[in-house]
Symmetry: C2
């Protein structure tokens, strides 16, 4: 992919988008200035965090998606936050949740392919405090947090 396109994608992932006030206004049969005011309020109370693009990940070389369940070694058991912080730093890691039950963490990872995933996974074991992991590879994303698949 062209360098410029990749750079644009990275900026669109991080935000750099904005609401279509007039479109929303007409869909809700309201005035632009009203919608503008209400959106600014939602932003002010941080209910809206940002605006970003949604991608077809296969088309931007991030087609391989896995969920990794992680249980921590007893030493760091008391502080899953720290491990979570470390994991959050990786660009391949889309989400990190601390959870109840048999596992302490679940992370969602996106890479171009299995090889790249394997490269990433090596980091996981290298992080001290990680005891066991179980990887669930997504073979089809039927719905993602952003949009439904159009088959």
């Amino acid at each position: 992919m062209k360098k410029l396109r990749r750079e644009i994608i990275e900026l669109l992932k991080a935000g750099n988008c904005t609401p279509r006030i007039s479109t929303i206004a007409s869909k809700l049969h309201s005035r632009s200035s009203t919608i503008h005011y209400n959106i600014k309020q939602l932003e002010k109370e941080s209910a809206i965090r940002s605006y970003r693009a949604v991608f077809d990940y296969k088309k931007i070389d991030e087609g391989f998606c896995s969920f990794v369940l992680i249980s921590l070694a007893s030493g760091s058991y008391k502080d899953p936050d720290k491990i979570a912080e470390i994991l959050s730093k990786y660009p391949q890691v889309e989400s990190v949740d601390i959870i109840t039950g048999r596992w302490e963490l679940i992370i969602k990872v996106r890479t171009a392919n299995m090889d790249e995933y394997y490269e990433f996974a090596k980091n996981l074991v290298a992080i001290g405090g990680v005891d066991k992991t179980e990887t669930l590879n997504s073979i089809r994303q039927v719905k993602s947090e952003f949009t439904r698949a159009i088959n």
Copy 2:
């Protein structure tokens, strides 16, 4: 929450946003018309699917988040796609992935609170073909799809 705000949020979840071309142009030391052209290309090849808002889910009454691992009864085992389709329809279901391993599906569910989650979970067992489920409740989202706040 005000009805209008809720309606705005629903529209912002579904899209109704647009890239900030001039911001991107200046960040990349490029011209607006160049960025415009390249973004249109990305849209044309469907690499970009849409633009939408990212929320602080606690602030929009969707603060309770769970991952549900699902294994299917042997009858429908051959067609997890169908169950996945059904699950995708629920607005509480943020993502549906068909996965490899001990489970067939993993879904991410957002509700206002545990009670609402329980109401939703009753639907799960009612769907024929679902054998076992295991729920992982997120007690803290350390990282989610968003990374940056509003400019």
